[in-house]
């Protein structure tokens, strides 16, 4: 390198003023830097600060299970035959010997019984998928309840929620691939749902299934969608999600020295790298151990799919349970329209409610931003109690999800708790409308109670557990004053005020009408931040009055 640069002429060549590398590693790094510019990249990232909070683990679990799913998925594709061609089984699983089945089912049997370690990888793949979706949901709740979705992170919320929906959908697809009796039932369910779409339903069904149900195309088609199309999109979204996390930096909770303008924590290299890298192995290890112990989706017990047979525990994976609940508790409404056409509302309405339930949470950041008219960036996470309406809304949403999940498992509940399935169904129908409202009210009150307690603590100190007897005989508990740090923590949050409508008359005395939108917004914002939605923070005066000593313990 140096001899080459020696031959070129002085002033115009791009000169490298770099000192000699100290060792092999440095010179290798120099080589790469000359091509990819890694030093510039690393400078801002190597010692990037990550705040530490246990809940950041949730997002990490999502990332790691996704990687595990991809690794094991690639392994499975080496053995799986995505074909519905008929074959007769002659394998080591005796009960199914001589039974007709598809290549897909037979090769899944083969993976489970003939490929050494194949069963383990299948189990890890399925367990990781279950954990993946669960972790995404919980991670999302964390982001929701702490208000971390607010500006500038709304787009990342969209990416994240998109990942959840795709993950659920891809899980469903994967579940369908082995062509066993359970998965076939799921595919049948999907066909029935598609057929319920007005006007184009039967066309969509024919096109998706390549003809009449079940046909011979679904497994190869779903396979491509499951291993290529959806994971491809998810990978893109995931990378975008992570880039944005890096760019925005994590949120942090209010605390001494933590402001909206800084981020306090430990550097990526080495602490965070070691912790996060180590955590990947922890997650992988735990999932491998679970897969050794607990069987999931034992397809050999269900048998191959036959449209005229059914396995009694016809249950989807839990994350599809709420759509199952919708379809189970909906009354069977079918109406005739336009002279002789059937509108299958009993299936179509649940089919529409399903994306609606998801979309409500998906678009929430924009609703809240509009209601609060807050255009600022937020980097300090809210404690859930300090945003009672949001917290209550999230809790109500989760309760709806759980109610529907119970509806989806009504047969299991019935057999385990010895209840009538009809009673459970009626209860779910009522619960669908009532429970979220009740949960909303309770959660909001609970948050306000906690706010009140915080205020109490700040003003009167915390209970010390020491009982003192006053000269006149009364027993009291001594309250210890909070440290400056704790006081700051409990009072650092903002308390936004509701938006007020502009005055009814303008400065010239001309009547001015507020539009419907403006009125709704001010109503909603009153609901969010009005007197009924937050307890005023303690003020310095209140504090001074109490601590100055008259008449207090």
């Amino acid at each position: 390198m140096s001899s080459a640069s020696g031959t070129s002429t002085g002033a115009t060549k791009p000169s490298s003023t770099r000192a000699k590398p100290a060792n092999k590693v440095e010179s290798a790094a120099d080589w790469v830097d000359g091509r990819l510019g890694i030093y510039t990249l690393a400078k801002s990232n190597l010692r990037k600060i990550f705040p530490d909070h246990w809940s950041f683990m949730l997002g990490e679990i999502c990332l790691y299970t996704f990687i595990i799913i991809i690794l094991t998925g690639v392994y499975l594709t080496l053995f799986f035959k995505p074909s519905m061609a008929e074959t007769v089984y002659h394998g080591s699983y005796v009960p199914l010997n001589g039974i007709r089945m598809s290549e897909a089912y037979a090769s899944t049997m083969n993976i489970s019984f003939e490929v050494r370690g194949g069963l383990l990888i299948r189990q890890i793949h399925h367990w990781a998928a279950i954990v993946f979706v669960a972790a995404m949901l919980v991670h999302m709740m964390r982001v929701f309840f702490t208000g971390a979705f607010r500006k500038p992170r709304e787009i990342n919320w969209l990416f994240g929620a998109g990942l959840l929906f795709l993950g659920m959908f891809d899980g469903f697809m994967g579940y369908s691939l082995p062509d066993d009796l359970l998965s076939g039932t799921g595919i049948r369910f999907m066909e029935g749902a598609i057929l319920a779409v007005p006007i184009v339903g039967s066309y969509l069904a024919m096109f998706l299934y390549g003809g009449q149900f079940p046909g011979t195309d679904i497994v190869p088609r779903f396979f491509t969608i499951h291993v290529l199309l959806i994971p491809g999109i998810m990978l893109g979204l995931l990378v975008a999600h992570l880039i944005l996390v890096f760019y925005h930096k994590h949120t942090q909770f209010a605390g001494p020295g933590r402001t909206e303008k800084n981020v306090v924590g430990m550097p990526l290299m080495p602490v965070y790298m070691a912790k996060a890298g180590g955590f990947f192995f922890l997650v992988f290890g735990v999932i491998a151990a679970i897969s050794a112990i607990a069987t999931v989706n034992p397809i050999w017990a269900y048998g191959p799919y036959r449209p005229d047979q059914v396995s009694t525990d016809a249950q989807p994976d839990w994350y599809m349970g709420f759509s199952e609940g919708l379809i189970r508790v909906m009354p069977g409404w079918e109406i005739s329209v336009w002279g002789g056409h059937t509108l299958n509302l009993g299936v179509f309405i649940p089919l529409m409610v399903f994306p609606l339930v998801l979309a409500v949470i998906w678009l929430y950041p924009f609703v809240e931003a509009w209601v609060t008219n807050d255009k600022r960036e937020h980097h300090i996470a809210d404690r859930p109690r300090n945003a009672p309406v949001r917290t209550a809304f999230g809790a109500a949403w989760i309760s709806l999800y759980l109610i529907l999940l119970a509806g989806g498992g009504n047969d299991l509940i019935a057999t385990h708790l010895h209840l009538s399935i009809n009673t459970i169904t009626y209860a779910v129908r009522i619960g669908f409308f009532v429970v979220p409202v009740v949960v909303f009210v309770i959660t909001k009150r609970w948050c306000l109670g906690l706010q009140r307690r915080d205020k109490e603590k700040v003003l009167h100190g915390r209970e010390s557990g020491i009982i003192k007897r006053l000269p006149h005989g009364e027993f009291i508990e001594v309250h210890a004053e909070l440290s400056a740090q704790d006081k700051f923590k409990l009072t650092a949050h903002e308390q936004p005020q509701p938006i007020e409508l502009p005055a009814e008359v303008d400065e010239n005395g001309v009547a001015r009408k507020a539009g419907v939108l403006a009125k709704t917004r001010s109503k909603l914002s009153e609901g969010f931040y009005g007197e009924s939605a937050q307890i005023a923070k303690p003020t310095a005066e209140e504090h001074a009055e109490i601590t100055s000593g008259h008449g207090h313990h």
């Binding site: 990037k48 069963l119 189990q123 998706l208 009449q212 449209p307 189970r328 069977g332 059937t342 400056a484």
Partner: protein
């Protein structure tokens, strides 16, 4: 940074609301707390111990990986063992999974332990910068864009612009059209089943699903549920799955005086009624029968049909009764069908007549 962008940060914004940290403010930010050293920071013996613990974890991982490879070789793939409290499991799967689990977990535990005890735990603040650009940059970029747009003539030549938008909007349609050959058109496919070839002149026999034999009326016991398919539909037929998805029958025998629906009684033969086995909700096969009440229950979403009353829906999400097949007997006394179902089988759809 101009004043304008820093306004964007909440703290700056807050200042205008008066919550400025003053000296007398009891709730002022006391600043980052001082670093408290850990045991391993001050006690070299503790640090050494932590180091040994981490190494031990890594060594256990190595042993577990060796165990994994050994298990792969040692355990036969078809051996089933009983392990309390899990139950019967494949010994190979169990050994591979646990050794792999331990090997991975110990690497993770070692790394985390290392980070927690031996790497620096000094918390450091890093500054945030507003995402939004300042006014100057913003104006500059907008200016550049305007120049570019003006040079393209995009705003001036309206016809160009509108036709471009039009063509861009239409071109994806080609992709949609190309999807047409994914499958055939529905036509009347959903309305007909394998029974539609049956006529009074050429009846099709009902074949018992289990024995693969035609059935006589006396073979059907009162209170039992029998499953049947059309004669000539063999399991190894190429389209067996598609056919059986619509043709599957269930036969019940109900004392004729218990049958509440006259039309249903007439479609049957001496109290034997042939209903579609495919649920009219979203198409699961119905499999549970309660002989006292003559109720049939679909296990998928619990639609319940009263077979004594024309398979009317009495509970659950199904929207209409199960289709019924007209049956009779031929000269030798075998049960036969003389036509197709009275309406389409399975889940309902837009074109389904009502």
């Amino acid at each position: 940074m101009s004043h304008d962008t820093s306004d964007n940060m909440p703290e700056a914004h807050d200042a205008s609301h008066g919550a400025v940290a003053t000296h007398g403010d009891p709730f002022a930010d006391p600043g980052l707390p001082a670093h408290e050293p850990r045991r391993t920071d001050i006690d070299e013996r503790a640090a050494k111990r932590a180091e040994r613990q981490v190494s031990l974890l890594f060594i256990v991982s190595m042993l577990a990986t060796i165990g994994f490879i050994a298990s792969y070789v040692v355990f036969p793939i078809d051996e089933i063992v009983y392990i309390f409290p899990i139950g019967h499991v494949s010994s190979l799967n169990f050994a591979l999974g646990l050794t792999l689990g331990v090997a991975l977990f110990c690497i993770g535990a070692g790394a985390v332990h290392w980070a927690r005890t031996l790497m620096s735990d000094h918390e450091l603040p890093a500054e945030r910068h507003p995402i939004e650009a300042d006014d100057e940059l913003r104006a500059d970029v907008i200016e550049q864009f305007k120049t570019g747009a003006a040079e393209s003539g995009f705003g001036r030549r309206k016809m160009l612009r509108n036709t471009l938008i039009g063509s861009m909007a239409l071109v994806p349609l080609s992709g949609v059209v190309l999807l047409r050959d994914l499958g055939p058109l529905p036509e009347q496919k959903l309305a007909h089943t394998g029974w539609d070839k049956a006529t009074p002149q050429n009846p099709i026999a009902l074949v018992n699903m289990n024995t693969n034999k035609p059935m006589k009326a006396e073979d059907i016991i009162q209170g039992s549920l029998t499953f049947a398919k059309p004669e000539g539909l063999e399991e190894d037929a190429e389209d067996f799955q598609v056919q059986i998805a619509k043709d599957a029958l269930m036969l019940v025998r109900i004392a004729p005086e218990d049958i509440k629906d006259n039309q249903s009684r007439e479609l049957g033969f001496e109290g034997i009624l042939a209903y579609s086995k495919i649920c009219t909700h979203v198409g699961c096969p119905i499999s549970l029968y309660e002989q006292q009440t003559h109720h049939a229950l679909c296990p998928c979403h619990q639609s319940t049909f009263d077979l004594a009353d024309g398979a009317r829906v009495i509970f659950g999400p199904a929207g209409h009764p199960l289709p019924q097949l007209k049956i009779t007997t031929d000269e030798q006394g075998y049960l036969v069908a003389t036509g197709d179902f009275d309406e389409p089988v399975g889940p309902s759809y837009w074109e389904r007549p009502r």
